[in-house]
Symmetry: C2
Subunit: 441 residues, 2 copies
């Protein structure tokens, strides 16, 4: 839907906001490595001079301190974006993302990891939000209606070719092409399966855990998740409480948030095994591919899952090559944006491993649902053993919050990526000068 001046429109600004929520005042979100997170967003807005007045919104998620560093990393990308043609950026998001990722000076700060790479992800995702809005589609459909060739062009195959070539990627996408419309219809009718972490935060009492676990089942969830890793005795007790609350037919995943070395991970899971945990998430360092492989060999049939802190596609590639994971947990705001997540979805499809995204935080549910729905429509073509994490935090701050019904994410219909926050929320929670924070100072 071109508007007047469309073809000559430029990106005129890259605005960055430091937005923080004082979530550490409650114990929601507490786990073995994150005892007191203040869920935060380094929030980016791309503005243009196009007559359509559309903007691109996205964010990098952090847990409080350092959100200013993250915001600074995003600001460092402004010279690569401001002044560029909207048409050129939105028409070649693969090239756009590669230019950011491979800047020969900025890449020294990674390469492709940490604050600088997360910044790239935020800016790339904001460009996708803008492009999808211009197309009038939610991102999952915008992606799901691209041709296989267009999708392959989004991917940076550097360092992947020993595991996935462009030809193999094209083949995966072409094989999934026939059923696309049927799967789009199914998503619109029934949504995408979710699981919930709401009952299982470390700070909760046994009574609260049991009550929330029962409520989750009553709400239609078939999988819940418990945070573990602080005390094995407590975890055995909490696992028993949860198992008794939900019965034998509901999956209970557990999540150690990187707390263990390899041997303690195996021993801890041996203690929890009688209660049949479905997967162990982040048993050890996210960088430890060989460690995950060792844990997986020892804890089977309990599955091993990781991904929310995996820096980039090269590490995901190796987790798959090494047989180190049963579940790939992509995150919408950790890697270099949608383009890199397309690569990771293709790698997972190549190795036949299901993708169950990490979500929660600020806006991660809103964003990542698009990637799973796209995966179903155009990549894996499957819902088997696939669930998106759901956490019931902070959705009220979003213009188009996720909608959950009967344990499913309902397919979003509004154009864009879903990361756009309400103007009043951005104002209230700006750090350190917004009213929420100045009242606390």
């Amino acid at each position: 839907m071109p508007s007047p001046g469309h073809e000559t429109a430029r990106i005129t600004a890259l605005d960055v906001l430091d937005v923080r929520f004082p979530t550490s005042e409650h114990l929601d979100g507490s786990d073995a490595m994150n005892p007191e997170p203040d869920y935060s967003a380094a929030y980016v807005v791309l503005r243009t001079d196009a007559a359509d007045e559309l903007e691109g919104h996205a964010l990098a998620f952090t847990t409080g301190r350092g959100n200013d560093v993250q915001a600074g990393a995003i600001e460092a990308l402004a010279p690569f974006v401001v002044g560029r043609s909207v048409e050129e950026v939105c028409g070649d998001l693969g090239g756009f993302s590669r230019r950011l990722v491979h800047d020969p000076q900025l890449r020294w700060l990674g390469p492709e990891k940490g604050a600088m790479h997360m910044a790239t992800g935020a800016v790339v995702n904001a460009a996708w939000d803008l492009a999808a809005k211009r197309a009038g589609k939610p991102v999952w459909r915008f992606l799901g209606e691209m041709t296989p060739q267009e999708l392959v062009a989004q991917v940076d195959f550097r360092w992947l070719s020993d595991a996935l070539t462009p030809e193999e990627a094209l083949d995966i996408l072409e094989r999934a092409e026939p059923g696309r419309q049927e799967r789009i219809s199914r998503l619109l009718e029934r949504g995408y399966p979710a699981y919930t972490t709401t009952p299982g935060w470390l700070g909760y009492s046994d009574e609260k855990l049991a009550r929330l676990a029962r409520e989750a089942v009553a709400d239609g969830f078939t999988q819940i998740k418990l945070k573990v890793g602080a005390s094995v005795e407590d975890d055995v007790r909490r696992m028993r409480v949860a198992r008794e609350a939900v019965g034998d037919d509901v999956r209970i995943a557990v999540d150690a948030n990187q707390r263990w070395d390899v041997a303690p991970a195996i021993e801890w899971m041996r203690r929890l095994a009688p209660y049949h945990p479905y997967w162990i998430e982040e048993p050890t360092s996210p960088d430890d591919i060989l460690g995950h492989a060792a844990v997986r060999r020892s804890v089977a049939p309990i599955k091993v899952a990781t991904g929310e802190h995996i820096a980039n596609r090269v590490v995901f590639k190796q987790l798959l090559q090494a047989g180190a994971v049963d579940i790939v947990q992509i995150d919408a705001a950790r890697v270099g944006g949608i383009n890199e997540n397309i690569a990771i979805l293709l790698l997972a499809a190549k190795f036949g491993v299901p993708v169950c995204p990490h979500a929660g935080g600020v806006g991660l549910c809103e964003m990542v649902q698009h990637l799973s729905m796209f995966d179903y429509v155009a990549v894996s073509g499957s819902l088997d053993d696939r669930v998106i994490e759901y956490v019931d935090h902070l959705h009220e701050h979003f213009a188009d919050p996720v909608r959950i019904a009967e344990g499913h994410y309902l397919a979003p219909t509004a154009p864009g990526l879903g990361a756009q926050m309400l103007p009043e929320s951005l104002k209230e929670y700006t750090y350190p000068d917004g009213p929420v924070w100045s009242a606390r100072a």
Copy 2:
């Protein structure tokens, strides 16, 4: 040497400077991934109110753009440092570094990788500089005269125990204890072997390459290094020029700076093999442990080296576990500081792999020589196949620049880490307001 008020002294400031050198105006420092670097330092100074007026100086190295992001990441650590007791920080550098590394909020920006982890490294190294100055010793001797127990206490063993336990580390250090004084004397007499990258930058003509290679040999170097990876035809020719210039007895290492995927790396090295390259450095992504292992299997007897972009000890651990490297290339300013580098030296000793540090940039030679000399004195106890990289850039800006003679680093004698720059250099090259940059604006 306690001074008045010593025991109650506090760290009063953490100052950060953005210092950049316009090195991109020449082709010194150019390689296949870094065509136009402006060698830069996010420079940190710890000040105290102690009567001795000693300061802790260190830096994170970057290649230009993003140095402000790096400086911001260092500033984010000020609340963890300013106001703390000098005695407590310098008396427990292991505990100090662990508190920075494991802050539950800041670690989200890594964990232990990228700008935030490099910032931790800079601050930790500044604390070591201060501690060594207080002890009146250069860091290599300050470390080399600690007891094995004191050294083990510096190391964060989290995520290492499947490869190295505290007991094994203690055993390595105790085995090397007997010959310490003899090795210290040898270093003071003859220094530590170096190799030079000066002849081999990509931007140089064949004539300049040949001339600089001959000069290097005449200066006493027994190993030189060539940058490769832009054009295989050019590299074959440059390798031939270099081999003819230095003869058969001088080692020629080549460095691809991450340019290749696995298969192209193997093929490229097949083309260079007739000229007997000694090692191939950074053949592919620094995150690709399995990729390095595959390259190593295929290119032997050419050795595989990497490390300057390896994010942390967990990745080094796996490179060693997987048999992916013949040479471990530590860097003084990439990981979380001296404490993490002690862990990496211990891992390398455990696996019997020599450490040949990356250096160059700004101040990397000045800092990393201390780690290699400490390794020789107290960890590996060996100089076999060990060389420190030497690049003849920017040393004139340092208060105690490296001294090279007959292809060796002479052992530094001034107290501290050697990263302290001259006040006039800091002033001249401050970005963007120093005279060097304002004149260019």
